[in-house]
């Protein structure tokens, strides 16, 4: 592309690479699709809602209170969003550290999903916290005794690392050969640093609850909660990879190389197998944590029944489905199990962050419509950003002029 770029004027380059070879008028007309109309409608309501929150505060825009300070924006955007965004970490470690080159074609879409997932999780956090100009504070006042400090530093660092991990695709799109070459040199260092960070902050998100033993319901509280969070985020990341690749291959099918279409079946089955093992490990840890805390004494209650729904419906059921799917080579069942697993992460994080945390609070928290709208807006922006990048940069395919070095 670089030779190509040299011979084109900036105007032509913009037309080719930003407007996909269309004139501005044609491009705008091509944007009028049912999907875009729905997305536009969500943004038309959602962006003013976010502005409203910044102007008038949490009290006006949410149902949060002193008794229920943690709501949907933390449970959904932060805890759920980050947990299912581990796909980038899983693929990078699998391919570059464990040498599974057969999964290479999934690395870039996974890193992009991970980067956007973290970015919008942090955006959600900023909306929840407010006063975004205080965001750099953890880097000025080192609160090293706090788990929150670790979470803040890790998220910032890991977001930066994911940006650099994805940068080669952007640089290839721009045709910058030299930069691509230099980026390649720091690649493996970034990957190792990133992997350490993921293991740290995913478990630290759970470790935040260690200081609330008498607040979080005992069926969810455990001294093992960091491990539970880490195990579940791996299962969630694997499941999200399967769901994401299923959608990508449908929506962006024309971009995917034929050989990758053939590989998708085997890659999906491989990820499904890994998800099965991970759910098995998670289930063991969950039982172990309950034994450790003697918490099974609380099982015969309404809360126990609700935990049963979470564990049987969203752990044991997909575990059985993954197993069955691997044994019968059924890609449909792997995908169905993945969707249930992703929903399971959602249920679990809500149970810990909102429901279990406020189980005996004097008032019941139900999200305000503006909170729902705010989260929906971030998800929509994430999907639109993913599509914008995939339609332009070499994510699902590789440019022949930029082979792996």
């Amino acid at each position: 592309m670089s030779e190509h770029t040299m011979h084109t004027t900036p105007r032509e380059w913009i037309r080719e690479n930003i407007f996909l070879g269309k004139t501005v008028g044609e491009y705008i007309r091509s944007l009028i699709t049912p999907f875009n109309i729905i997305a536009g409608a969500i943004l038309a309501v959602g962006i003013p809602v976010i502005l409203y929150r910044f102007l008038f505060g949490l009290g006006a825009s949410t149902n949060l209170s002193d008794t229920n300070p943690w709501g949907m924006w933390l449970a959904f955007d932060m805890f759920f969003g980050v947990a299912v965004a581990t796909g980038g970490f899983i693929m990078v470690v699998g391919v570059y550290i464990f040498g599974r080159d057969d999964y290479k074609s999934m690395v870039r879409p996974a890193i992009l999903t991970g980067f956007l997932g973290y970015f919008f999780a942090i955006a959600g956090l900023v909306i929840d916290l407010g006063r975004p100009w205080f965001l750099p504070k953890p880097f000025i006042y080192f609160g090293t005794a706090s788990v929150l400090f670790l979470v803040a530093e890790h998220l910032a660092l890991y977001l930066t690392i994911q940006f650099f991990e994805f940068l080669p695709a952007a640089v290839e799109w721009l045709g910058w050969r030299k930069v691509r070459h230099h980026l390649h040199k720091i690649h493996i260092a970034l990957i190792i640093l990133g992997s350490v960070l993921v293991m740290g902050h995913q478990s630290a998100l759970g470790a935040m609850f260690l200081i609330m033993p008498s607040r979080l319901h005992p069926l969810w509280y455990s001294t093992y909660i960091p491990y539970l969070f880490f195990a579940s985020c791996i299962a969630g990341g694997l499941a999200m990879l399967i769901v994401e690749s299923m959608i990508s291959h449908k929506v962006f099918g024309h971009q995917v190389e034929a050989s990758d279409h053939e590989k998708i079946h085997r890659m999906t089955m491989g990820l499904g197998k890994a998800a099965g093992y991970t759910l098995f490990a998670y289930f063991c840890l969950k039982i172990l944590s309950m034994v450790h805390g003697f918490t099974w004494q609380h099982l015969w209650s309404g809360w126990g029944a609700w935990l049963g729904v979470e564990v049987i419906g969203f752990v044991v059921l997909p575990l059985w489905m993954f197993t069955r799917a691997v044994r019968t080579d059924s890609i449909k069942m792997v995908r169905a199990a993945s969707i249930i697993t992703v929903l399971g992460i959602l249920v679990n994080r809500f149970n810990v962050v909102v429901i279990g945390l406020n189980w005996n609070a004097p008032e019941v928290y139900i999200p305000h419509w503006m909170e729902v709208m705010g989260s929906l807006t971030l998800v929509t922006l994430g999907v639109l950003a993913f599509r914008w990048v995939v339609n332009r940069m070499p994510v699902l395919y590789r440019l022949p002029e930029f082979p792996d070095e």
Binding site: S259, E262, F280, I287, T323, V326, R327
Partner: protein, 233 residues
Amino acid sequence: MGEYFHFVDYVRDTKILEYAVAFLFIGLFAIYYKLMQAPAQPVEAKETVVSRAINMIKGFLVPEGVSYHPGHTWAHTEGEGLAAVGVDDFAQKLIGKIDKVVLPQVGDTVRQGEKAWTLVIDGKSIDMLSPVSGEVVEVNAGLAESAQAINDDPYGAWMVKVQSPKLSVSLKNLLSGVMAQKWTETAVENLFAKAHVEMGAVAGDGGSPVSGVAKNLDPEHWDEVAKEFFLTE
């Protein structure tokens, strides 16, 4: 409301129970691991040998139940989307004793009508085309030690096994049954036509082809002849 839990970390009280649960799960995991390795209905590890309903066409084996690519390679369905592929009898007799084969690796993608493997004979390399498209899932490691097996039993010595979600599409482009027999007949006629020109008269019925026909035909440029038949010139 007002209910309140005093958290107690029962480290000592639960230790033995925890160890028991942990060991139980490690044991269960071993079982689970085995379960995940084996398919529910074990596919018979049957030898890839094609039905021996032998059809001998002018001295060349053209068994039923195999699909042939015009480049003299064959494919045989082994299971859902899985095909074993190899070299046909015509090819094997044409080039004679094979010294070495260079096979693709597991995970590689092969495409119908594109180069799949290379045969090495007397220092000359001859490419052959893949009869199907898909991903290589198994390579016949035995051939690395001795490629003689291909000459001994061309329909038993498969080269690689290919997994393809659209195997049936690949197979539709191949020749089988009567079509395969007619095609072999034509190939043999072409070969004998060449032989006639270059070797003079042969036995009235064409005789029985000997191993390494091409070398007898043209000791210098026999590889060109082979490539012409294998469509890889």
